[in-house]
Symmetry: C2
Subunit: 327 residues, 2 copies
DNA sequence: CACATGCTTTGCAACGTTGCAAATTCTAAA
DNA sequence: TTTAGAATTTGCAACGTTGCAAAGCATGTG
């Protein structure tokens, strides 16, 4: 089934058929109908290789998939979200798994050099993310899950981390907490900075003592659990905690509980949640949700609009945190 | 950077350069060296659209990603596994998220009709999987994560579910259990059948009373938790349980514990684990691991060999379950 | 009836690659 | 020095698509 087939069937020329299928307005309505009809009857779908060769358009968007496992089920939801948004479009999704963060520049370089996609979605964005820099320099369409510190604007969709931190602190304040601790992991992301900043600000505003538990980035779940256990027996243990990673939350809660801490009595916790697993697991704990599925969809819509040439400044959105307070 | 560039630089013809790059043995060694050198210097990479148009080869493999969330982190690990295996090859990975199982035939039909990939990986395979049937009929390269009941052989890589069930039952027998219950979900997969069968067999051999908890497929985590809670207070409650889904395990354990059940005393449990989260969460519980990352790699290797024309019967492998016994 | 005019349609080239048939160059025997 | 035969290289067409310049075709005007 090629254009030629349709041309033969309709008795029109290749050019006419091609033009018609792309909605050539100079064509007679009758002709356009005839072509459309034949195309439908034959189930014609343009050959991607032909289009790509001729136009340079790949009709592909690429997702650079970070290997982080902090957010449970992140990959699946992100991909499903993207999938939902490209359904009914002619775009395909290629996924490029990233094994090490420091290789990610190579990945982008490859895409840029070989024009292997029309646009890229990246996640776990850093304040001065090298990938963002590269793609901005090349004027290549992309969108980041996460903001950056660059002065030049670029498309992004981000979880409103500052709102998350503020919300969590206020919730803890409402529970009567005096001393709150923020447990946070990946310090290479902008997200990290935003949360820490907003946390301190909110804690100060609420008149609470706020500390940040640093250096949890490379910890294994077992080590994290141990950390929770140790924390349980410390006399200066905080009475409120905020955790932004599901993996860490699971381990931490496990350790704290093993150490005898009873949540809701000795300690209040608010964690960031993306997967639906933790609420099942800890039905009594407060959480704030980021909808990764929705994020995938939004990122895709932004990217497609960017590819179509929409102004960058119109392509920056934030997702509001969704609190799930228990009791 | 196209073949033409290299041709101009080396002073050779397009044909010669093309031939040389594909290792034409009729060429003079000197010529081949010259071309190889120029190609490297210029960083030449064949244009995918050109190759695809001319040869029909897409150099793409497609993963049909099932929406199931039973196995936590399944998607990420599978994709990373595939990614590891296609690294250093010229293959790209496109992911096609599946929203509803009954649409999956359409997905395959689309790939088949439009030759949008050179091979397909499917997961959550059923005994008479329509997708498998279609691809076999079309003689299209694919590999399934999971076996089928078809008489015609096809490439697959599968978790050895029978061994899993037997292993789990034996472990429970060793713990002195008399009455074992299998909690299992997705009854549309071959896996389901295999586990149930092997479970009954192993239970009979061990002289235990074995029951299967059916109909847990569509249950929400909350309902599953409730089920665990109810089970906890039943007088005919089993003293050994086997669970094959992480999501279900989490909910079930939560419910049982809430109902006062103490694992290791009132009840022994062996669950199937793929993600590393559950061991963190339940450090005292026995589990048996399926390495999804490795499965992704193996599936890919099988598929690539299939694409290269290797005999189907040489492309069927099983992964041995990895027991993680505690205490 | 010749001829602008505007409306439709079409031929051609090109995108980068490969495979084949044919051309060119080389080697060594006559 | 020829020349058969082998060794090496090359021109050409085709894969499916699109954009442009140009051609064809009615229609109405002088």
């Amino acid at each position: 089934m090629t254009l030629r087939t349709i041309a033969e069937v309709t008795g029109l020329s290749l050019s006419t058929v091609s033009l018609s299928l792309r909605g050539g307005t100079t064509l007679k309505q009758e002709t356009r109908d005839k072509v459309a009809e034949a195309a439908k009857a034959l189930g014609y779908v343009p050959d991607r290789a032909g289009v790509r060769l001729r136009t340079g358009k790949t009709n592909v968007i690429a997702l650079v998939l970070d290997g982080a496992e902090d957010s449970i089920d992140f990959a699946r939801q992100m991909i499903q979200g993207i999938g939902g948004a490209i359904k009914e479009t002619r775009y395909h999704l290629t996924v490029i798994p990233e094994f090490e963060r420091n290789q990610s520049a190579e990945t982008i370089r490859y895409i840029l050099d070989n024009r292997t996609a029309d646009g890229v979605i990246i996640t776990h964005t850093g304040p001065r993310d090298a990938r963002v820099q590269m793609m901005m320099d090349a004027d290549f369409p992309f969108v980041s899950h996460g903001r950056t510190a660059f002065k030049t604007p670029h498309p992004y969709h981000d979880f409103h981390s500052e709102a998350f931190a503020a919300m969590a602190v206020q919730r803890l304040a409402g529970k009567g907490c005096k001393q709150v601790m923020l447990v946070i992991g990946d310090d290479s992301t902008t997200n990290y900075q935003n949360i820490v900043m907003a946390f301190h600000e909110a804690a100060a505003t609420a008149g609470m003592d706020g500390t940040v538990l640093q250096g949890t980035k490379g910890l294994t779940p077992a080590e994290m659990r141990k950390l929770g256990l140790d924390l349980a027996s410390r006399k200066d243990r905080p009475d409120g905690m905020i955790s932004d990673s599901e993996m860490r939350t699971i381990a931490l809660v496990g350790g704290l509980q093993e150490g005898g801490v009873v949540f809701g009595r000795d300690l209040h916790l608010v964690y960031k949640q993306t997967s639906g697993i933790l609420p099942t697991l800890f039905p009594a704990l407060d959480s704030i949700r980021e909808d990764v599925f929705a994020a995938g969809g939004e990122l895709t819509r932004l990217l497609l609009r960017r590819i179509e040439g929409v102004e960058v400044t119109d392509l920056q959105t934030l997702a509001e945190p969704q609190p799930h307070w228990r009791s």
